[in-house]
């Protein structure tokens, strides 16, 4: 029996990422390529994802959130580190074991227009996985199962023979969810699942994801830049900056008691949809742009834009450890006062 077949018990860690590192080489030359540097896309990150839980990975573009997800799926080979699914190291699985794992970890993509094949009916799109993973659903039962799945995601089962272009953006994202669910995954990696959708439709998809999670006990790795949606849907949130996790904790830890200056700045930049609160919140405007991940600053990577930076920040990279805030934070000078009662 292989580990990926086991059903996780409640609150069990289904995905454990330890010291994951992914560097991309920068090369020069066409015939005689030589490496002239490395992009440190993901640099030593660790986190746990438990059953039935949603872990949010947030940060700005280029911070490494999508590379993390791609490396966990082994769409990229890790430079070093471990990721284990229910105790089995993903990076040591054989090809056939890897196929079984991919069934258990499914992905929902950002762009519902680009991620569905325009020449396949939605019935074909949903059953495609079963052609690779034989035995998930027996052939005679497939049609009935597609009907069930379409109903589960709130689509009309009579539309099974329609093509993606006949659906709106929100409906296409539902098709993407149905396709992911077809293989009975334990984990779904949601890479910006609602950011391409209209505001009035986003809430529908967010609610759908929550309902399915409750019903099936799924775990989500939720990658997004919309911090309002993340606060709503995630149980735990990891804030990333230049390939590192700078702060990790639950909703109240990260949003209401943020201890890392980057988290503070990031959250203060999120506009609050209430004009009465205008000017009441202190906005921290960061200077300049994110430094290049090919040449990150020494010590703490945020120090070049940090108003608290001192000499020690340039020499010692701060560890992501608990520093009296009740949750781990990678800063030498974390915010100390508590707002929570």
């Amino acid at each position: 029996m292989t580990a990926p077949d086991q059903t996780p018990t409640s609150n069990e860690v289904v995905l454990k990422v330890e010291n994951l590192v992914k560097y991309f080489p920068i090369t020069r030359g066409i015939l005689f390529q030589h490496q002239i540097g490395t992009v440190k896309a993901v640099d030593d990150i660790s986190f746990d994802l438990r059953r039935g839980e949603t872990l949010g990975l947030v940060g700005e573009s280029g911070c490494g959130k999508t590379t993390t997800a791609r490396t966990i799926l082994r769409l990229e080979n890790p430079t070093s580190g471990h990721a284990s699914y229910m105790g089995r190291d993903i990076f040591e699985l054989s090809r056939s074991e890897m196929r079984e794992l991919r069934r258990r970890i499914q992905v929902i993509f950002q762009d519902p227009y680009a991620s569905l094949n325009p020449r396949m009916t939605i019935g074909d799109i949903i059953t495609e996985g079963w052609r690779v993973h034989k035995g998930v659903v027996a052939k005679p039962k497939q049609r009935a199962r597609v009907h069930e799945l379409l109903e589960l995601v709130g689509l009309n089962p009579d539309h099974i023979n329609r093509y993606p272009h006949q659906f709106s953006g929100g409906q296409r994202q539902r098709i993407g969810v149905a396709r992911a669910l077809a293989l009975e995954p334990r984990i779904i990696i949601c890479d910006e699942p609602v950011s391409a959708l209209d505001v009035s439709v986003q809430a529908q998809v967010v609610n759908l994801l929550e309902d399915i999670q409750d019903e099936l006990g799924l775990s989500y790795l939720f990658i997004a830049h919309d911090l309002s949606v993340v606060r709503h849907i995630c149980d735990h949130i990891a804030v990333m900056y230049l390939g590192k996790i700078v702060e990790i904790g639950n909703e109240y830890d990260v949003y209401d008691n943020s201890a890392h200056p980057y988290t503070e700045a990031l959250l203060s930049a999120v506009p609050i949809p209430d004009p009465a609160l205008r000017d009441k919140e202190r906005r921290i405007l960061l200077e300049g742009d994110v430094p290049s991940p090919a040449d990150p600053p020494s010590g703490c990577r945020f120090r070049t834009r940090c108003w608290k930076a001192q000499d020690v920040c340039a020499t010692d990279p701060p560890e992501l450890v608990e520093r009296g805030q009740g949750h781990p934070v990678a800063c030498h000078f974390p915010q100390v006062e508590f707002a929570r009662p």
Partner: protein
């Protein structure tokens, strides 16, 4: 004084400007696109006005007509297939819609400037940013190359692009997303326009960069007194900067009013639905309350009120009769037959 500093005349072409008239008035604007597959009614009756120092937000989802409205005001709709079929756009009382193209060109950049969502596609990749900014002075003001470049450096400084003098000869791809947006802002401000239209200026940017750009726009507006039209789908951004807001749905204006009133006391079910469906960054929300369905196809806009298939207040009247704009309070309109009910439910 060089030629670059010519004062703006108080006429547009042969039309006199009335200094007491509002900066911009748009009245009952209709725009449609006649395509092979049918006619897309992109804007169906839009009315608003803008004054100096004012920030007006036009809030709507994709396909609501918010960007087409801006293109009509700028006069940059391709005809065919796009036609402005009805309505008026006046700058200080002077009608712009029937101006000949040669005179219309003097309005763009000088009077009304625009910045776009995607600065990388809006900028020309084969010319340096300095050249592109200087183009404004060369074409509109007959400046020399050298004068133009000096001006461009000054504008890049104003848009807070660090090391402007060193970077004036760089190309758009050498800038980050936020810096490119600053280049566009510099270009838009070149001729000191009276109105700046910002079409989703921060949608492609990260949230910390968005905050920087919105701050820059606010500072520049403070400095010049220009009127700012902010076109966006982001309820948060609107809440932070707008004085007044026009909410659009399926090409129609559904609600207009002062920002606090619209957010705290919506009188249209669509506005109310939007407010209730979004999560907030500052407080915990248990369950989102979405609007059912999805926005209509503009080739097949529902009969009566276009929002009726998604509206919890809809009844027979809404299917048959298109609601007119009801004045619910001074300066506030709602396009809902049952606006009193929508409002009453909140009280």
């Amino acid at each position: 004084m060089t030629a670059v500093d010519t004062y703006k005349k108080n006429t547009i072409g042969d039309r006199a400007l009335d200094p007491s008239a509002p900066l911009l008035t748009v009245d009952d604007l209709h725009v449609e696109f006649r395509m092979d597959m049918g006619t897309v009614k992109a804007v169906n009756g839009l009315t608003y006005s803008l004054d100096r120092h004012e920030t007006l937000a036009i809030l709507g989802e994709s396909g609501s007509g918010k960007s087409v409205n801006a293109q009509a005001v700028m006069g940059i709709i391709d005809t065919p297939p796009g036609y402005v079929t009805r309505g008026s756009v006046k700058f200080r009382g002077a009608e712009l819609l029937d101006l000949p193209e040669s005179q219309r060109r003097t309005v763009r950049g000088e009077r009304i400037a625009m910045i776009f969502q995607d600065a990388l596609t809006a900028l020309n990749p084969v010319f340096s940013v300095g050249w592109q900014i200087a183009e404004m002075f060369r074409i509109h003001r007959g400046a020399t190359k050298k004068e133009g470049f000096e001006r461009a450096i000054g504008l890049m400084d104003r848009a807070k692009i660090p090391m402007a003098r060193e970077r004036v000869n760089s190309y758009p791809h050498e800038f980050s997303g936020g810096m490119r947006q600053r280049v566009m802002i510099a270009m838009a401000l070149a001729l000191d326009p009276d109105i700046l239209i910002a079409d989703e200026p921060t949608t492609a940017l990260d949230v910390t960069v968005q905050a920087q750009i919105m701050q820059l726009l606010a500072d520049l507006q403070q400095e010049t007194g220009m009127g700012l039209i902010l076109i966006t789908h982001d309820l948060g951004v609107v809440a932070e900067v707008a004085d007044n807001v026009v909410v659009m749905y399926a090409g129609r204006e559904v609600e207009t009013g002062e920002i606090n009133q619209v957010y705290h006391d919506p009188t249209h079910p669509y506005t109310l639905g939007l407010m209730q469906s979004i999560p907030r960054p500052d407080v915990h929300t248990d369950r989102l309350n979405p609007i059912k369905g999805s926005p209509p196809d503009l080739m097949h806009i529902p009969s009566g009120c276009p929002f009726h298939p998604r509206c919890p207040y809809a009844r027979e009247k809404c299917v048959i009769e298109e609601p007119s704009l009801h004045e619910v309070a001074p300066g506030r309109v709602s396009a809902c037959h049952f606006w009193k009910e929508v409002r009453g439910d909140r009280a």
